[in-house]
């Protein structure tokens, strides 16, 4: 795709641009700024006290490590899944491929109750893990499982197109030059996939950070142990502590924006490497 900086000669720019900006402002920008403005009205000391209270900090830690774990699992197995879906054939492959998008299409609450029932002590999977001493439901591990579900499509779908684009000729050339299968994978096939893998990981991670619906059922929600940050926000709202809720929300927003910047940076870097085509 190239934008050759042409003059805009097609009609409708004014109308569509205007409507777009209006919509964005009303629906997105103004409401989001409300959070920051409200926070600006809170005395700094109180702000710091709220966002660094032990319970809140525990939730940051929990959210962070469960999201990292989930994104990590999705990185490894999502890569494997993409590889298998692109390069191998097996019965039912097309069905499995379509199913990968299920986490995008299935409501988070439905996923939440389904996962809880599966991993609870007498659930379909939980009953096998209980005797081994592995508790999933109502523990942080359950949160990680839910976040893995949520982030599953990201790595698979970012890696798939890149894998599909990799011409067989590269492998053939490498084989003619004497490389064995392992060398072909490590030196010829894997390096071009790294940007897509990192992007997929970052997207899965970002998605996991703010997740609420699928987690809140399986989590147990015990403060300091298995309480995620979005839940604290809701709790504060129910107690009419708008200031407190907003303060924590702002911390989450800032983290999300930084992550968004990082992802954009990653995609820009990946696109630059693509220029070397």
């Amino acid at each position: 795709m190239e934008k050759n900086g042409r003059r805009n000669i097609l009609p409708g720019f004014g109308v569509t641009m205007g409507f777009t900006l209006l919509y964005l402002s009303l629906i997105v920008l103004i409401p989001l700024s409300a959070a920051f403005i409200k926070t600006a009205g809170i005395p700094w000391a109180r702000f710091v006290e709220t966002v660094t209270s032990p319970r809140v900090v525990a939730s940051y830690r929990l959210t962070l490590w469960t999201s990292l774990l989930a994104a990590g699992v999705n990185l490894v197995f999502g890569f494997l899944a993409a590889w298998v879906l692109v390069r191998y054939r097996f019965p039912g492959k097309r069905l499995v491929d379509a199913l990968v998008d299920l986490p995008f299409a299935l409501p988070t609450a439905v996923a939440g109750i389904a996962l809880t029932s599966i991993y609870s002590a007498n659930g379909w999977i939980g009953r096998y893990l209980e005797p081994l001493g592995i508790k999933v439901a109502f523990t942080p591990l359950g949160i990680a499982v839910a976040l893995t579900f949520i982030g599953l499509p990201f790595v698979v779908r970012t890696v798939q197109p890149v894998l599909e684009d990799l011409d067989a000729e590269y492998e053939e050339a490498a084989s003619c030059l004497g490389a064995n299968r392992r060398q072909v994978f490590l030196r010829v096939l894997f390096p071009p996939l790294v940007p897509a893998l990192l992007t997929g990981f970052a997207l899965a991670f970002a998605r996991a950070l703010g997740e609420y619906g699928s987690v809140v059922f399986i989590a147990g929600n015990m403060p300091m142990v298995s309480e995620i940050t979005p839940l604290i926000i809701i709790t504060k709202l129910e107690q009419y502590d708008y200031a407190g809720a907003t303060a924590i929300a702002v911390v989450m927003l800032v983290a999300s924006f930084l992550l968004l910047l990082a992802i954009n940076g990653l995609q820009w870097w990946a696109a630059r490497r693509e220029v070397f085509r």
């Binding site: 000729e169 050339a173 030059l177 004497g178 490389a179 060398q183 030196r187 070397f276 085509r277």
Partner: protein, 356 residues
């Protein structure tokens, strides 16, 4: 290393890409596999490389059976039409790749690899681009690097799959000559695939003309051009004019032309087709002998190294293409619509059963 292919057949479903093909490539020769798309030439090349298997037949290197050998163990260098340079590696790393993947005991040291890569880059006249990435090179440069990469592992056979197909005309011509010179210097047994007959005739020691999975003719460029074995080869290599006539007992009557055809002494009033190259059509203002036919000049293409004429035969035989040198053309001083006489020389006559 010499290559021998015996009775190779390859089918893709119902489609027969190769049917019982046999060929010998002596050591050090530069052979062109020439033919239209679907003729099987690329499949044959890939079978030699080990990138494809054959359903029947065998491949031999230096007399030894190599049909089941893995592609890595064949000692072939392969150059792809679209270069297949590793985009994420520098030019240097690309060229060094074959050496760097050798098992430890065979692997040269870093300094040795560096020297070899430099030597190869010098060979392909691209010493300065070692640190660049393939995307920063032009098409012609990329192909030369691809060649350097293939040569780095000192292959005994060099295989090239339409190596210049993705390049524009001028670069193609340059690289053709360059490949020829390189081969003269290195004398590696080489096989290249092309659908461009000009390229095959210009570069190769021998040309293998293929069509629909079969070899039509094998010979030097002169042989296949001057003495084509059948109408397909004739048609494929250069322009052709077709005249219809009859042949009986070694004598052919083609229009008003009567020729002796000792090759067809056994013919019995058979319908024949005569092929004549445009540059073998003699154009005169006067009727020089009984074989000359009247024609009218319909088109003149004067731009270019030769002048091309389209002449309409007055005996209803259709349009004839003729080529004249610029001198001849200025001698005759022809204009559109003028009446001339055409005499076909150097006919190649095929009997009815050779229909294309």
């Amino acid at each position: 290393m010499s290559i021998e292919i015996r009775g190779v057949t390859r089918k893709f479903g119902d489609f027969a890409a190769l049917s019982n093909v046999s060929l010998t490539v002596p050591r050090g020769e530069l052979v062109a596999l020439l033919g239209p798309s679907g003729s099987g030439k690329t499949t044959l090349l890939r079978i030699i490389a080990g990138l494809e298997t054959c359903d029947a037949g065998s491949v031999h290197f230096n007399g030894e059976e190599a049909t089941d050998r893995d592609v890595r163990d064949r000692g072939v260098g392969f150059v792809f039409q679209h270069y297949a340079l590793f985009r994420h590696m520098t030019v240097f790393d690309n060229v060094a790749f074959g050496l760097s993947v050798r098992p430890r005991r065979n692997r040269p040291g870093k300094a040795a690899i560096r020297d070899r890569v430099r030597e190869l880059l010098r060979l392909v006249q691209l010493e300065s681009v070692g640190d660049r990435y393939p995307a920063q090179l032009s098409g012609g440069q990329r192909q030369r690097i691809a060649l350097a990469r293939a040569l780095a592992v000192e292959p005994e056979v060099l295989l090239l799959d339409e190596p210049f197909g993705a390049l524009d005309a001028r670069v193609r011509k340059e690289l053709r000559g360059w490949l020829r010179r390189l081969h003269d210097e290195m004398r590696i047994t080489s096989v290249f695939v092309t659908h461009d007959q000009e390229e095959a005739l210009e570069v190769a020691d021998r040309v293998v003309v293929m069509n629909e999975g079969r070899i039509e003719q094998v010979g030097s460029p002169d042989e296949v051009y001057e003495r084509p074995a059948n109408p397909f080869v004739y048609n494929f290599l250069g322009h052709v004019n077709i005249f219809h006539g009859r042949v009986h007992a070694g004598r052919g009557t083609i229009g008003s032309l009567v020729v002796d055809l000792p090759d067809h002494a056994a013919a019995n009033d058979a319908h024949a087709v005569a092929y004549v190259r445009p540059h073998d059509i003699e154009v005169t203002r006067e009727q020089i002998d009984s074989g000359a036919t009247r024609a009218v000049v319909r088109h003149l293409h004067t731009a270019g190294p030769v002048v091309r004429l389209e002449l309409e035969r007055q005996d209803g035989g259709g349009v004839v293409e003729a080529e004249l040198s610029r001198e001849k053309y200025s001698e005759l001083h022809l204009e559109l619509g003028e009446h001339v006489f055409i005499t076909p020389r150097n006919l190649r006559v095929f009997l009815e059963d050779y229909a294309i």
